[in-house]
């Protein structure tokens, strides 16, 4: 059962030639004024997948199993004790809990990568370690801290982690809010010289990293460019974005999907 796309009308329908133009649920027909049974159920199926993506916990053991033998990773959690609290209290998701902070090792790191569950653990489950490994390959000569795995995490939790570890830059790889068409999209936020309370305007963002969006190699190339520039200019955020070359395949940069304002 494909829950993501509206069921096509019978062959020969005039919408058939138009459906490739958009993934929007166009030309789905009706019974009276209402949507037909198969479209109502397809929509409910897609919504269920998105809801499950929000509420499914990150499988930390499976994530660790993707690492190479001997490769370290540290597990931390935010101050939000559970998912309902996490959803109501984004402020708690931005701060480490005290036990986690005590466990982190300080060092002279150029960068720390964080795999945070955010609003779609499945996105991070699939994408975070491959991106982290790709980046290690691209960052020869950088002092890269061991991977940090963070649960009940918001983007700004990375700031707290970087401060605790003495890292000059943080890369937060985090699950984006699921939509009906994509429930496993990962976003990446780069912040130079992070501090607790750091504004989102001081970050750079790559979003829509998933099998039908930005690929891991594309995201890695782009992130490596941003990181080198961040180090050269000693900044991230608006100043860095302005200087970025236009890459046609990256369309959603700069809009933090977890922090979107109400005004769309």
């Amino acid at each position: 059962m494909d829950t993501k796309k509206p069921t096509p009308l019978p062959p020969g329908d005039a919408w058939d030639g138009l459906r490739h133009l958009t993934r929007a649920r166009i030309g789905i027909g009706r019974s009276g004024n209402a949507q037909r049974t198969r479209d109502v159920l397809a929509f409910q199926g897609a919504h269920a997948l998105a809801r499950d993506a929000v509420h499914t916990a990150l499988d930390v053991a499976a994530l660790r199993a993707q690492l190479a033998p001997g490769e370290e990773a540290q597990l931390v959690t935010s101050s939000a004790p559970d998912r309902p609290t996490y959803l109501r209290r984004p402020d708690l998701g931005r701060r480490l809990d005290d036990a986690s902070r005590a466990h982190l090792h300080a060092g002279a790191w150029d960068v720390v990568f964080v795999a945070g569950d955010g609003l779609s653990a499945v996105a991070v489950q699939n994408g975070a370690v491959p991106l982290y490994h790709a980046m290690r390959g691209l960052l020869a000569g950088w002092s890269v801290a061991p991977l940090v795995i963070a649960t009940q995490a918001r983007v700004a939790l990375g700031d707290d982690i970087a401060v605790a570890m003495g890292a000059r830059m943080v890369v937060m790889m985090i699950g984006e809010r699921p939509g009906l068409s994509v429930a496993d999209s990962m976003g990446v936020y780069l912040t130079y010289a992070p501090y607790v309370g750091c504004p989102d305007s001081a970050r750079n963002c790559l979003s829509n990293i998933h099998p039908h969006g930005l690929s891991i190699p594309q995201a890695a190339d782009r992130l490596a460019w941003l990181m080198r520039e961040a180090r050269r200019l000693s900044l991230t955020g608006v100043g860095l974005k302005d200087a970025a070359p236009q890459h046609g395949h990256i369309r959603h940069e700069g809009v933090p999907p977890l922090e979107k304002d109400h005004g769309k």
Binding site: T22, R25, H47, R51, R88, G179, D261, H262
Partner: protein
């Protein structure tokens, strides 16, 4: 000073007006997040008792956000119409509720008093009104606006057709636009949220929409919902700008977070009016608002999210907008947790805006991390329809593939129009009939495929 109420033998005290308003508010997650709001149900009701005894005139003497620091407060105070306020000036908040619900408060009477009502008065009275009260009073108020058609008439429900696409693909947007027109959508506006803030893309989208509108002589207006400064740039470059869009909020600092102030809005308003593109009216502004915006910008000045939201309507009404809508469930569960909170907030926003004379519509919507689903939207659209909402937003199959949230489908709005016997804007309804899309004999939209109507040429 301070406010006090006795309830069941216990005395409750509230140190100031902002606290009283916050504690009296119906429960919502955003006020908890802000550390505001009632700590118990009994405290909440005690606050409502105290609030009901507050004279309306108190709101004129107590600036909840300091006058010197905030241009929205200055706008509210400086534009207050004492003569319009006179008929209710002696009332308390509780008296005001009773008067609003009385038969004496008919549509013309409420319209006459609107310039004398401040946002804070509207917010205060809404907090002691039940959902049915919010609907009953709002349903009497018609705020009528015009550009190429007439929005807000009694017996009408307009719709925004929202044909968004994740890469702003012109043909994809045209396909969604065609789909919506076949359901009778788009009389409020055909309005795109672009995926990028790029001015060239915005110009291309505007050109495509304007070309389609002129080709089929559609009596409506089109809009690319980009930042006001981009729209000013597009007007300077000769772009086909019908309406100026902007998200607005209820404090100067929150508006600064959006990169705007009143003088930028005035500049855009003057420029768009100067284009004289409207055929039957010159309401050229389109605003979006929503509870939680000020708090998310750290700019709520200790006010509860509903009170600070109403202040955005003072900003809106200063610019005679064609359209305003609350994007009620878009902001997420940390501000409005579930279907109950979203529903309540939508009814509050609609009532307060209409009481202030603002042409309010609604994006009845939710995100996938909120405790809400399409059944909640079904309920909400009917309540808003009964309350006389100016317009609702529709997207193909209720699924916005660019913004990743759910709104109403075209089917939903068509269903609502039928159930409540509401028509599109009259000029647009006549066009639907002229184009053969609407069958006046059966009172139904015809079920047509793109090949069966001239409109199919939109995708050529």
């Amino acid at each position: 000073m301070g406010f006090h109420a006795s309830f069941c033998g216990e005395t409750y005290s509230f140190p100031d007006l902002a606290t009283l308003l916050a504690v009296a508010s119906p429960a919502r997650s955003g006020d908890v997040l802000a550390g505001l709001g009632a700590t118990s149900d009994v405290q909440r009701i005690a606050a409502r008792h105290a609030l009901a005894d507050v004279p309306l005139a108190t709101f004129l003497n107590t600036a909840l956000v300091p006058y010197e620091e905030d241009e929205v407060t200055r706008l509210i105070i400086d534009s207050h119409d004492r003569a319009a306020f006179a008929p209710v000036s002696h009332m308390t908040v509780g008296d005001f509720r009773d008067w609003l619900l009385s038969h004496a408060a008919d549509g013309p009477t409420l319209a006459a008093v609107a310039p004398g009502i401040t946002p804070e008065m509207a917010a205060a009275v809404s907090k002691i009104m039940r959902n049915q009260d919010l609907m009953a009073v709002a349903a009497r108020i018609r705020v009528i606006t015009r550009f190429r058609n007439t929005i807000g008439l009694s017996g009408c429900l307009a719709s925004r057709l929202q044909p968004n696409h994740p890469t702003d693909d012109l043909k994809g947007i045209a396909a969604s636009t065609l789909d919506g027109l076949l359901y009778g959508m788009g009389d409020a506006v055909i309005g795109i949220n672009p995926a990028t803030d790029n001015v060239e893309t915005g110009m291309a989208l505007l050109d495509m929409l304007d070309h389609a509108r002129r080709r089929f002589d559609i009596p409506t207006q089109t809009c690319v919902l980009t930042h006001v400064t981009n729209t000013i740039e597009m007007m300077n470059r000769g772009g086909a700008v019908d309406l100026v869009f902007q998200s607005i909020a209820g404090t100067q600092k929150a508006n600064e977070g959006f990169g705007i102030n009143l003088s930028i809005l005035k500049e855009a308003h003057d420029a768009a009016r100067g284009l004289h593109r409207g055929t039957i009216g010159n309401n050229v502004m389109y605003f979006e608002t929503g509870q939680g915006a000020a708090l998310s910008a750290g700019a709520h000045h200790g006010l509860d999210q509903q009170t600070v939201e109403t202040r955005a309507y003072a900003v809106a009404r200063a610019f005679d907008p064609l359209l305003v809508n609350t994007v009620v469930g878009f902001i997420g569960p940390e501000y409005l947790y579930d279907g109950k909170q979203i529903t309540r907030a939508a009814l509050e926003d609609h009532f307060c805006a209409k009481l202030l004379g603002v042409p309010m519509g609604c994006d009845a919507c939710y995100t996938n991390h909120a405790e809400a689903d399409q059944d909640d939207m079904d309920n909400l659209m009917v309540l808003l329809g009964v309350a006389g909402i100016s317009f609702l937003i529709g997207v193909p199959g209720a699924d916005d593939i660019m913004l990743n949230y759910q709104s109403l489908s075209f089917h939903d709005i068509m269903t609502l129009r039928h159930m409540l016997r509401l028509d599109p804007a009259p000029e647009f309804a006549a066009w639907l009939e002229r184009m053969g899309l609407y069958d006046a004999k059966t009172g139904r939209m015809r079920e047509l495929s793109p090949g069966q109507t001239r409109l199919g040429q939109l995708i050529a």
